[in-house]
Amino acid sequence: MITNTVLVLVLPFVMFLFLGLAGVKMPRKTAGVIGVVGMLITTVLAYWVAIDYFMHHPGHEQISAEVDWLNFTPKLVARMGVLIDPISAMMLVVISTVSLMVHLYSLGYMCDHHGHAEKGFQRYYSFLALFTFSMLGLVVATNIFQMFIFFEMVGLSSYLLIGFYYSLPAANHANKKAFIVTRLADLFFLLGIMILTFSTGTFDFKELVGLGDMAASQRAAGTMDGLTFLGIPAVGWALVFIFIGGAGKSAMYPLHIWLPDAMEGPTPVSALIHAATMVVAGVFLIARMFPLYVLAPMAMNVVAVVGAFTAFYAAAVACVQSDIKRALAFSTISQIAFMMTSLAVSADGGQLVGGHEAGLGYMASMFHLFTHAMFKALLFLCAGAIIHAVHSNENDKMHGLHKFMPITSIAFLIGCLAIAGIPPFAGFFSKDEILVACYERGLGWGLWMSMVAGMTAFYMFRIYYLIFFWKKHEVHTEHEPSDQPWTMTLPLIILASISCVAGFLPFGKFVTYNGEVLETHMNWTVAGSSVGIALVGIALATWLYFKENPKPERMKNAMSGLWEAAYRRFYMDELYQFITHKIIFQGICKPIAWFDRIFIDGFFNKLADLTGNASFAIRRVQGGNAQSYVFVYLLGALLLAAVTGVVILMI
């Protein structure tokens, strides 16, 4: 099984190298097909591993193997390895599935209207393979350092893929932004690791969080007892920093700003990286470190507050976006915030909450991660199909597409229903459990998240209606929009079907924080109320957006300030712009560069000038008159005697 897992990792990497180096020499389509086939094998292997694990290794034991990669100290060794435990097995499935779908989908998407593959097709598949490799590597990491490494790697592949159309200034800008923001987060991640390992002296998850052995995490946390900085315990610092690292990747407020811009990449990339897989790396990280977080209530509270706020914030912004991909991006942010919150609310004050259902939030979070990956990928792929058909991201260029693209429309609707939490679609089950976990932590948490769930339903259906209904589509391009080739529709259908049925997976049996089976019971009150809220949201959306009408416009005018603020994402980008350009660039970099030239460099130049000036100033001594020479000579001799005499004899 380890061999298989390693193969799962190696295969995409080989594909990356192969397509990257040899791809230029082969026809574009061939490269694509090779990529898809490679991914298919990877997926099969990944499923095999996952099934094998879940079927044959009950009790959730971990299987791992590792090699030393870099020795820091005799104890602190960075290793490379694979670790299969419930969440990584689950992630293997998610990643390989979505990735396969995206690989396949891209065969159609990355072509022009005549079916000719775009320039850089090979590069595209090579990067996709690199991403898949990095993401898989991330989830099977045996230690936090390896995870950090792959965190960086996914950041890189995300960077490369966002900037796939590198000659477009927007893409160029977006990938830079994405990389730098996540890099900033990674810095904190790194600092967190540094603090964590300072006293524990190990990177290994096994020793840090035990992987089912809660005592291990207590031991690890115990080594940090008494270490504080600025009055806050070291473990708190470490975990908050690590959370910031995760938050960067998972686009938590205020580090979310890169994600909407990242939509400049090709849409399948958005589906894969910025909806389904990479952005949940942060959630995955917190889940990995969960036992430690439990022991650090302060860090857990930070996660919960940030999560809850982000969920609301992103949902609010998503309500008014006109760009379909941006709206979806904010929806993603909001949903990931759900997962974060769910993780965070499952513990309070160093204890798990929820009595016999302790750890429900953890399970729910992972469940939602799984389902969300499927339906959000679906939604993005649908969006891709639409964009491919109408060549625009904007709502007002779409409208009434239902007629032209029925398959896409239905798939999109399934996605919407799933995300809105309407039974029996996947999202209902996972979101419901999240809400239950929230209510168990406290009523306030539950109400807040329920409200966000309602908003989710509203904005998703708003998008849905604006795309597919609202009014009749006006054809701007020479050919009518239509459903896309099979390479593109097939993934939609597959993902739509998964979204329909995934909710019935007995997730609690497989994925829990301590490896024991968690029997979940449907909490009908919560379920009912959440479905109700979702329905309210859908109804509102239907009322406002199903047919063309002036109500939205009026509402917009009525609350123009709020609407504008939300549309502009509450000015977060401007704030960042201000900080980076005005404060860091103009306020720090420029002055430092100026200081360097004027003072440091100037000092040495001045030194040279001074020497030159001195040289010029004393030239009169050598005035050419022999008598003055003699005078200086004599004066020198006399002074030599006089000064020495006075100093030695008189003093």
Binding site: L634, L635, A641, A642
Partner: protein, 171 residues
């Protein structure tokens, strides 16, 4: 107690040295300066005689007064039109000169007078230096023999002669 003649002699010598030295460096007429120099040199020879260094005094008169001053006079006549006066010295330069001279004299004075009580040593008995002894030490190779400097000096003079030839040749 010194004989009165000696004292008078000393006074004359000292005064002429001082007066003529000053005049030699202040007179405007260069030929007069050479003449005053001659007087100074002669007075110096007087000191040597007083010190019983007759040979030295003789040499002083012969070489210095007789040779060098004549050389000066020749050079002056060669380079000056008669009756030509030196231009007045600028006060700046004068100040410089006085400063240097005074400083030097003061420093040497301090050096000499601070050195124990030796300034007040008086002359001992007359120790006439016999010519024979002088000649012997001049050509002796032992301690206090001056054969080597003597030979070296001859080389120096030879070198100076050649140097003079070099300079004197037209081309």
């Amino acid at each position: 107690m010194e004989s009165l003649g000696n004292i008078i002699m000393y006074v004359i010598i000292a005064l002429s040295i001082i007066v003529f030295s000053v005049m030699a460096v202040t007179t405007k007429k260069i030929l007069r300066a050479a003449t005053y120099l001659l007087f100074v040199l002669l007075a110096t020879a007087g000191i040597y005689f007083q010190l019983d260094y007759q040979f030295l005094g003789t040499t002083q008169i012969a070489v210095y007064a007789g040779g060098v001053v004549v050389l000066f006079v020749f050079a002056i006549l060669l380079t000056h039109k008669p009756g030509h006066n030196a231009e007045p010295i600028t006060s700046h330069k004068k100040a410089q000169g006085i400063l240097a001279a005074v400083a030097c004299v003061v420093l040497c004075g301090v050096a000499l007078f601070s050195f124990g009580r030796f300034c007040f040593k008086t002359l001992g008995g007359g120790t006439d230096v016999p010519m024979g002894k002088l000649g012997m030490s001049m050509l002796s190779t032992g301690s206090d023999g001056y054969l080597l400097p003597f030979e070296a000096l001859s080389v120096l003079l030879l070198a100076c002669i050649i140097a003079g030839v070099v300079i004197a040749r037209r081309r």
